[in-house]
C-alpha cells in the first residue's frame, strides 16, 4: 500500500485524489491502540481519529499527522498506562506506513511554497537596517509596535503581522530617519563638550528637594541613599537628543574594605511626572581610582543620575538627613562616619556619532555629489535628472538587497523626478521623495524569496539578517549578486567575516534576547523583603554574564554540553558575592572576568541567574514553568499546551507547604501524568534556585518552619536523580540532544520557520558533521548556514 503511494507522490494533488487508501492501511493499528480515547465519543486532547482525514495537502491536516507520528515514535502514545501496549513490530510498521507519505507530502509543500513564508524585518532589524543604510544612530524602534513572538523569536514568519498602523508608522520612522540624515548632511555635526566638575555636580536649580551628590574635599561623592531620584546631577542635563560619551574621572570607592562598591549610572528626566530612568551602565568603584567610560543615547532634557545601588549584605544606608525627602549633608561627615560611597573628580560629556560623521551620512545619501556639483549642473536639466536616477537606483538596490530590473525601480525614480519638477530642481526634496517610498516598500521591509533554492542575493540577505540584524554591506551584497555566496567556502568565509566584524556582536545579543527571553529580565521586580540582596546591579550583571558566556561559546566553538556544565564562567565581583561563590577569585575594579572553574560546581547556562529569573515570577518559582521552559528551550523537547480548564496552582509564599505537595494531586491524575513526566524533572531539579537565582534549601523566608526543597526526580527515560548535580550529569552526557535543539533554534531564528518533518535527515547530517568538534556552537552555526535549510526557501 504505502509503496504505491510513494510512487504517486510527485505532486500533492495525486495524493489527495485517493485519501482512503492510506487510512485503510492504518485502520487496524488505530482500532487496536487509539480509538479507545481518540474517537468521536471521547476525542481526548480534542483529537477524534475516526474523523481525521488523510489530506496532507492541507497544512493543518499535515501537522496533525506529523504530531501523531512523533508522539507514537517517542513512545508517548499510546500512553504507558494503557492496558495493552502494541508490540514493537506493529509500532514500527505503523510508523513505516506513515513516514514516507508524510515526508513526501511535507516535501512537496516545501518545494512548491517554501518552508518559510514571506516574512518581514523585526522592529529591531528595521532600526538597524535604516541606521546602517543612512549612517545615522537615532533610535527608531519607538515608532513601531512591538513584534509578536513565537517560542521567543520575533523573526518567525507565522506570527508576524502587518496593518495600516504599521505602514503609518513605517512612514513616520522613514521621515524621522531622513530628517536626521539630511539635516546632518546639510548642517554637519555638533561638537558639544561639557565638563561637569564636582562643584557643578552638586548644583541645584530647584528650590529645596535636593537629591544630588555631596561635594567633599574637591571630589563628588554619591552615597547609598534610597530617596527616589537620589544622585540627580542637574548640571549634566543635555539640550539636544543624541549619543553621548560619558567619561567619569577617578572613580574610587569610599570606605571600602577592599571590595568594590557598585553603583548604577542612569539617565532620565528625574521627576515624578516622568520617573522612568534608563540604566546607562554599572559603575564599579574600587579602592584604586580609575576612569570609566560609557556611551549612551540621551533624550533632550535627560540628565545623569548616579547612586550606589547595591544591596550588598551589611551595607548601611546613608541617612538623607534633609526635610521632606530632600537630601542634606550639613553638619555631618559621612566619610568619617564610615558610610560607603562612590567618589569621582569630574564627568566629561561629549556628543558622539557612533555610526560615523556627517560626511559619511552625506555619502550615503548622495554619494560624492557635493552641493556645488549639483549647482554646476543647473543649466543641464538632463544631466541633473540622470544623476538623480543613478542616486535613487543605487539607494534602492542596497535597500532592496538585490539587483532589480530597471522597470521595478522606475516608479521610485519617478517619485524623485516629480519632486524635482515640483521643487525647482532641489536635490534634497527630490531624493527624499524617492527614499521615503523605498523605506516603506515591501521589497525593503520584507524578504523576497522564491520557492526552491535561494538566489545569491536572498542568501546574502538571510545571512546578514541572521548575524547582523541588518542588510548586507557592499562586499556581501556583491558576493550575493554575483552568486559567489552560493559556494560553500565563500559562504563559510562570510559567516566568519560577519561574526568577527564589529556588527557581529549583534548576533549573540539578539539571539540570546529572544531564545533565552533575556529581554524579559525586568518583567518582574523581586520582592525586596524576600530577596534583599537582589538589585539592579545584579540584574544587569546577570544579562551580561549570559551574553558573555554565549559569546565565548560561539567565538571559541565550545561544546553545547556547556549549556549544562562548563569549565568557564564570566562573572564580575558583584555576581560572585551575590551567588556566594566564595571560592572564585575576581579582581575588584575590573568588571567582567573570565574564570576557569570546575564543571561540577555551579556552572553552565542553566544555572545562570538570568535564566533562573526569567523562568520565575519574582516571588515564587514554579517547577512547571521552569520545566516547560527548560524542555522547550534547552533540551529541545516539545511540551504540548495544557488541556483547557486545568486550574493553576495558586502560589503560597508563606512557606508552610512546598510547591511539590501542591502539585502532587494534580500530576497524579492519569491524563496529566504523561506530560508531567516530561515537564517536572527539570523543574524539580532547579527548585534549589529561588526566583532570583540564589541557592536555597527551604521555601519562604527560609526559616526552620519552612518546607524543605526536594530537588529529586526521575527523567522520562527512567534515570533517577537526587538533585541538580545528578540531573546535570545526566543531560551533559547527551550532547547530541542539546546540539539538535540548538540547530532547531538557530534555524527558527535565522530563517523564520522551524525545520519540518522532511528535514530530519538534513539535521542529522548537520549533527554528524559536528561530532568531531564535540558539537561546538560555532560549528553548528556554520553547518546550519551551509545546509539546505538555510539555502532553500
Amino acid at each position: 500500500m504505502s509503496f504505491c503511494l510513494v510512487c504517486l507522490f510527485g505532486r500533492v494533488e495525486d495524493l489527495s485524489a485517493d485519501p482512503g487508501d492510506l487510512r485503510d492501511g492504518l485502520e487496524d493499528f488505530l482500532w487496536a491502540n487509539c480509538y479507545d480515547c481518540h474517537d468521536d465519543l471521547r476525542s481526548e486532547a480534542e483529537l477524534d481519529l475516526t474523523q481525521l482525514d488523510w489530506d496532507p495537502s492541507d497544512p493543518d491536516n499535515q501537522q496533525r499527522w506529523v504530531r501523531i507520528f512523533k508522539r507514537v515514535e517517542a513512545g508517548e502514545m499510546p500512553p504507558r498506562e494503557a492496558k495493552e501496549h502494541p508490540s514493537q513490530e506493529s509500532v514500527a510498521a505503523f510508523l513505516g506506513d506513515l513516514k514516507s507519505p508524510l515526508v513526501a507530502a511535507v516535501q512537496a509543500r516545501n518545494e512548491s511554497e517554501g518552508r518559510v513564508t514571506f516574512r518581514r524585518m523585526t522592529r529591531r532589524q528595521h532600526e538597524r537596517t535604516i541606521q546602517d543604510l543612512l549612517g545615522i544612530a537615532i533610535p527608531l524602534q519607538g515608532f513601531l509596535p512591538d513584534d509578536a513572538e513565537f517560542h521567543g523569536f520575533e523573526t518567525v514568519s507565522v506570527v508576524q503581522q502587518v496593518s495600516h498602523f504599521h505602514f503609518a508608522r513605517y512612514l513616520e520612522a522613514a521621515d524621522a530617519a531622513l530628517d536626521e540624515a539630511f539635516s546632518r548632511a546639510k548642517n554637519g555635526d555638533s561638537n558639544f563638550r561639557l565638563e561637569v566638575t564636582p562643584e557643578m555636580q552638586g548644583k541645584n536649580h530647584r528650590r529645596g528637594n535636593y537629591r544630588g551628590p555631596e561635594l567633599y574635599k574637591g571630589r563628588s561623592i554619591a552615597w547609598n541613599i534610597r530617596t527616589q531620584f537620589y544622585g540627580r546631577m542637574e548640571a549634566t542635563k543635555v539640550k539636544e537628543s543624541g549619543w553621548y560619551r560619558i567619561t567619569i574621572k577617578d572613580v574610587e570607592a569610599v570606605n571600602s574594605d577592599g571590595e568594590s562598591i557598585w553603583g548604577v549610572l542612569r539617565r532620565g528626566v528625574g521627576h515624578s511626572m516622568a520617573p522612568v530612568l534608563t540604566p546607562v551602565g554599572l559603575v564599579e568603584a574600587a579602592p584604586k581610582a580609575r576612569t570609566q567610560v560609557f556611551e549612551t543615547w540621551m533624550d533632550a532634557g535627560d540628565q545623569l543620575i548616579l547612586k550606589v545601588d547595591a544591596n550588598t549584605a551589611g551595607m548601611k544606608r546613608t541617612p538623607h538627613s534633609g526635610n521632606g525627602g530632600s537630601v542634606s549633608y550639613k553638619g555631618k561627615d559621612r566619610v568619617k562616619e564610615g558610610f560607603k560611597g562612590i567618589a569621582n573628580r569630574g564627568i566629561l560629556i561629549q556628543r558622539i556619532y557612533p555610526q560615523g560623521d556627517a560626511a559619511r551620512v552625506r555619502f550615503r545619501l548622495m554619494r560624492d555629489f557635493g552641493p556645488s556639483d549639483w549647482e554646476g549642473l543647473a543649466k543641464d536639466k538632463k544631466a541633473q535628472l540622470r544623476e538623480l536616477d543613478q542616486l535613487v537606483t543605487r539607494f534602492a538596490t542596497l535597500a532592496f538587497r538585490e539587483q532589480l530590473p530597471w522597470k521595478v525601480v522606475e516608479p521610485y525614480r519617478e517619485l524623485a523626478r516629480i519632486a524635482y519638477r515640483g521643487s525647482d530642481a532641489d536635490l534634497e526634496t527630490s531624493l527624499r521623495a524617492a527614499y521615503r517610498a523605498v523605506l516603506c516598500s515591501p521589497r525593503f521591509l520584507g524578504f523576497t524569496e522564491y520557492p526552491g533554492e535561494l538566489s545569491g542575493s536572498a542568501v546574502a540577505s538571510r545571512l546578514s539578517y541572521m548575524l547582523w540584524d541588518s542588510g548586507p554591506d557592499w562586499a556581501l551584497h556583491e558576493k550575493g549578486v554575483k552568486g559567489h555566496i552560493l559556494k560553500r567556502e565563500t559562504l563559510l568565509a562570510e559567516v566568519d567575516r560577519l561574526l568577527n566584524h564589529a556588527r557581529g556582536e549583534r548576533f549573540v545579543e539578539s539571539f540570546a534576547d529572544q531564545w533565552l527571553d533575556l529581554e524579559e529580565i525586568d518583567f518582574t521586580t523581586p520582592d525586596q523583603r524576600l530577596y534583599p540582596t537582589f538589585d539592579v546591579t545584579v540584574q544587569e550583571s546577570m544579562v551580561e554574564e549570559t551574553r558573555r558566556f554565549l559569546a565565548e561559546m560561539f567565538a571559541k566553538d565550545r561544546s553545547v554540553s556547556a549549556f549544562i556544565k562548563s569549565d568557564f564562567a564570566h562573572l564580575n565581583e558583584r555576581l560572585v558575592n551575590f551567588y556566594r561563590l566564595d571560592d572564585r577569585e575576581v579582581k575588584p575594579g575590573s568588571g567582567f572576568q573570565r574564570l576557569s572553574i570546575s564543571p561540577d560546581a555551579r556552572s553552565g547556562l542553566v544555572t545562570q541567574g538570568a535564566i533562573l529569573k526569567v523562568t520565575a515570577d519574582g516571588t515564587v518559582t514554579s517547577p512547571i514553568l521552569r520545566g516547560v521552559w527548560m524542555n522547550e528551550r534547552i533540551l529541545g523537547r516539545h511540551i504540548p499546551p495544557p488541556p483547557p480548564g486545568i486550574p493553576a496552582v495558586e502560589p503560597d509564599i508563606r512557606g508552610a507547604t512546598s510547591i511539590r505537595d501542591q502539585l502532587a494531586k494534580h500530576t497524579s491524575d492519569v491524563t496529566c501524568a504523561g506530560c508531567h513526566a516530561k515537564i517536572d524533572p527539570a523543574g524539580f531539579a532547579l527548585e534549589v534556585y529561588d526566583p532570583v537565582g540564589l541557592w536555597r534549601e527551604r521555601y519562604g523566608r527560609g526559616d526552620k518552619k519552612a518546607a524543605v526543597v526536594d530537588p529529586s526526580g526521575v527523567t522520562p527515560e527512567g534515570d533517577t536523580f537526587a538533585g541538580i548535580n545528578d540531573w546535570r550529569k545526566i543531560h551533559a552526557a547527551r550532547p547530541r540532544e542539546l546540539a539538535h535543539n540548538l540547530v532547531n533554534q538557530l534555524v527558527l531564528y535565522g530563517t523564520g520557520a522551524a525545520p519540518t518533518f522532511a528535514d530530519r535527515e538534513t539535521i542529522e547530517g548537520i549533527l554528524d558533521r559536528a561530532v568531531k568538534n564535540n558539537y561546538g556552537a560555532r560549528t553548528l552555526l556554520r553547518e546550519v548556514i551551509a545546509s539546505d535549510l538555510f539555502l532553500t526557501k
Partner: protein, 429 residues
Amino acid sequence: MKSVHFNFGQRLSRRHLLRGAGVALGLPLLDAMRPAFGAAGGAANLGQAKRFVGVTLSLGLHNPNLVPKKAGRDYEPSPYLRSLQDIRDQFTVISGSSHPDVSGGHTAEGSILSAAPHSPAVTRPKTVSIDQLLAKHLGHETRFPSLVLNTDGETSPSYTENGSMIPASSDPMKLFTQLFVDDKPAVQKTQAERLRSGRSVMDVIAADTRSLQRQVGREDRDRLDAWFTSIRETERRLEANEAWIHEPKPKVASKGPKEADRNNEPEVMSAFLEIMALALQTDSTRFITLHVTGNGVNAIDGVDESYHSLSHHGRDDEKLDQLARVEESVVREWGEFLRKLQAVKDENGTLLDDTQVLLTSNLGNASSHDNRNMPVLFGGGGYRHGQHLAFDQKQNYPLPNLYLSAIQRAGLELDRFATSSGTMKGLSI
C-alpha cells in the same frame, strides 16, 4: 462636578457653518461641528448606545475583594464596590465569567477585548477586538475613529481584523494636544504636505506589492494580500486625516491633563480618564480603550512595593493589604469616570446612557495567572443595571456574550462575536 448644557441631537453640517447659519452658541465644551453626544439622526437612533469604552487591567482584581457574596439586585457591596454605591444603579457586576479557551496568564492580554482563543503554545489567530470592530464600522464620523491608550506603555488589547495589535499612546500631554490643541499654520502645512505625498508613497508601494505578488508562490501571495490591504487602508486614512487637518479642533476649558504622579497608578489612570471623558463629550471619538499597566504604586498611602510584585501576593497578608489599597483606588477611579459621563446631560438623558463602559482584565487571579473568573464591571449604555450577575465560578459563563450584547446595543447587527453563544443573560434595557 462640572455640568454641561448643550443641544441634544442637533448636528451642524460643515455646509451649514460655511453659510454662516445655525451656529450654536452657549456650548462651552463642545465643538459645534461635531454631532452632540446623542443619536446623530435624532429620534431614529434612540435606544442605542453608540459609544464604547474598555478599561482593561493587566494585573486583575483580587476576586474575594471584588465579588459580592450575594447575587441579584440586593447584593451587599464588596469592599471594592463600597465607593460606588451612589451610582449603584449605573453598573452591573458580573462574576463567574471568562473567555472560553483562553489561557496563558499574562500572554492572554491580547484576548481581553477580542476573546480570541489563546494558549501559550498557540499562535494568535486572526481576530478583531470589540472596540476596533465598532470603530471600523461606526468610527468614520469622528476625527479619531478610535483611541487606543495605555497608562504606561504601548501594549493594548485592541486588535485589527488581521490580528495586529494597535500600539497604544501613553503620553497624556501628547494625547491632549492631539485632541484639543490646533497646530500652528506652518506645522499644518508641513503635515498636509507629508500626508499628501504620503499618499503617493502608498500608491507606489501598493502597485509594487502587486507586482511582487505576481512573482512569488501561492502562500506568499496570500500573505502579501494583507500587506496590500494594509497599504490601501493607510492611504485611505491619510486621506481622511488630510480632510481633518484644517478643521479646527474642539475647544475645551481644561488647559491640559492634570499632573499625575507616576508612582500612583490610579492617579495616572484618572488623568487619562479625564481626557477620555472630554474626548467623548466633544465627539472627537466614540471608541476608546485604556489599558492600565503602570507598575508604580508606592506613592499610595501604605504601599511600598510595585504593583506587579503585589499582584503575586502568594496569600501573604501584608501584600494583600497593600494590593487592596491599590485596587480599591483603581475601581474608585473607574466609578468617578462613570459619574463624569453621567453629569453630561440633556433632555434625553446622559452621556453615560449613550456610552457603554467596561472594566475587566485577562487575569481572574493574578497570583496564579488564572484567566478564568475575570473581574467584570459593566456600566452605562442605558441598561437596567444595579445588579450582580453571578455565574458559576467553576463552569464559567462565556463573557463574549456580553460583548455581543454591547455590539448590538451600539448598532451593529451581528449575531456572533468570537466564541459567544448568544447575548448576555440577565442584562436588559
